[in-house]
């Protein structure tokens, strides 16, 4: 029992530190790549090629003055950034990043917790994230924040349905809700769910971008309409918490897509963890690439697309999968 607790604590610590470092360097990567997409250089000054920029930003944000506007609901105002940040962190608990390995005679699963309803847990926790956005928008006592919060809630509701339905096909084939089992169901290259569920993969990709509020679905924080959306009134570390949460959920979305559709940690020659990171980085690159390419949706287009295109397609995908499995 005691070795188990120690191993779990070590795993939590390692995943936590690596996750935070990845968030930090994701901001660097995004600025760098967006810069090069726009034929600029991106950050270059702090360290070679701006590599120390995330730390400089972090220190700057920590030392910034904290402004709280008048007439805000203090309790909810302080609670909201935490509600955005924590769900992003704890989703990592169920994502498997490697196969079972043996260290000093101990069998170690490279996943913090492999429990049999992993995917339901992920859905439950990602849905919690939207409370942070809505409460931030509501408690800030600012019309732009409120509009951002309302938009995010409407967007989440429309896309979460299609998101869940787009994964039903995967779950039907894998026959399990555990993420480790789903990875093990994709043991050969052509068994990856991206080949067995191409429509499901596309739907998932679109829905997850809407879910994590990235371009072209970044309506809750549409800069040119809503100042900054739900976090307009936040400053200092609370502002940083929103960003940590947002980039954290980007990583989560990529990790989940890797696990569900790209065969998780599996791949030849390289160690499993490296394969997992390579696939994850491919998704992160895709998000940034899409942001550099696509303009933002209009609000009515977003709703139409969510309910009239994605939802029927997701249902169709389930139908096709069911028919194929029956035959």
């Amino acid at each position: 029992m005691i070795p188990f607790i120690i191993i779990t604590l070590i795993k939590i610590l390692v995943v936590f530190v690596v996750f935070l470092l990845m968030i930090a360097y994701l901001t660097w990567l995004e600025r760098k790549l967006l810069g090069h997409f726009q034929v600029r250089l991106g950050p270059m000054r702090v360290g070679p090629h701006g590599l120390l920029q995330p730390f400089a930003d972090g220190i700057k944000l920590l030392f910034k003055e904290e402004l709280v506007p008048a007439n805000v609901n203090r309790f909810i105002y302080n609670l909201a950034p935490i509600l955005v940040f924590i769900p992003a962190l704890i989703i990592m608990a169920v994502i498997p990043f490697g196969d079972r390995i043996t260290i000093l005679g101990q069998k170690v699963d490279l996943v913090i917790s492999d429990f049999n309803m992993g995917i339901l847990y992920v859905f439950a926790i990602t849905s919690l994230g939207v409370y942070g956005l809505v409460l931030a928008g509501w408690s800030s006592n600012n019309k732009y924040s409120l509009l951002g919060g309302l938009r995010s809630s409407a967007q989440m509701i429309s896309y979460e349905v299609s998101l869940a339905l787009s994964l039903i096909g995967v779950l039907m084939i894998a026959g399990s809700l555990s993420l480790v089992e789903i990875v093990k169901a994709q043991d050969k290259f052509f068994n990856w769910f991206i080949f067995r569920q191409p429509l499901g993969f596309l739907l998932y990709l679109v829905c997850i971008i809407a879910e994590i509020n990235r371009a072209p679905f970044d309506l809750p924080e549409a800069e040119n309409e809503l100042v900054a959306g739900y976090y307009t009134e936040y400053s200092s570390m609370k502002f940083a918490m929103f960003f940590l949460g947002e980039y954290g959920s980007m990583i989560n979305a990529g990790a989940l897509a890797t696990t569900l559709f790209l065969g998780g940690w599996q791949g030849p020659f390289l160690p499993p963890v490296v394969w997992f990171l390579i696939k994850l980085c491919a998704f992160l690159f895709l998000y940034i690439w899409l942001r550099a390419t696509l303009p933002r949706f209009r609000y009515d287009q977003l709703m139409n697309f969510g309910w009239k295109v994605l939802l029927p397609l997701a249902l169709l995908n389930i139908l096709i999968t069911g028919v194929v499995i029956l035959l």
């Binding site: 790549l33 810069g35 090069h36 997409f37 726009q38 034929v39 600029r40 250089l41 270059m44 596309l202 690439w289 899409l290 550099a292 390419t293 696509l294 697309f305 295109v309």
Partner: protein, 143 residues
């Protein structure tokens, strides 16, 4: 529905390929303090006053530059020297008001005032950006 499919399978990949092409091109950023752009010959920067071969100021304080100046940033007071020649006792250009149109240079009949290529003359004191005659002549020596 057809429109949506066309967007997904044709328009978006095309857009992505365009942006990817730009990802691979070399950035055009010039890293300013270390490297500078080559200025055009006709670049209009900080003004300078010139002297003739004898070392006298060319400016005779005719006031044409001040008359041509659209933003009214040139101020001058004339005087006569011991030979009865006009010269500018006071000649001030307010660089905060100046729009660097170059009309003063065009208007000058004596080729006394020019716009140079200096563009790094910011200051934290407003008074220091009103250049007087000595400073403008010194700018000319540096050219």
């Amino acid at each position: 529905m057809f429109y949506v499919l066309k967007t997904i399978f044709w328009a978006i990949p095309r857009g992505l390929s365009v942006t990817f092409k730009y990802l691979l091109t070399k950035p055009i950023t010039v890293r300013y303090p270390e490297k500078r752009l080559v200025l055009s010959d006709r670049y209009r920067g900080l003004h300078y006053l010139t002297r003739n071969e004898d070392g006298k100021e060319k400016c005779v304080c005719c006031g044409l530059c001040a008359a041509a100046c659209p933003s009214g940033c040139i101020y001058m007071e004339p005087a006569e020297n011991e030979f009865g020649e006009r010269y500018a006792k006071v000649y001030e250009i307010n660089e905060l008001r100046c729009i660097f149109c170059g009309y003063c240079q065009e208007a000058c009949p004596k080729e006394a005032i020019f716009l140079g290529k200096e563009y790094e003359f910011s200051n934290d004191r407003r008074e220091k950006l009103i250049y007087n005659k000595e400073e403008l002549l010194k700018n000319g020596q540096q050219m």
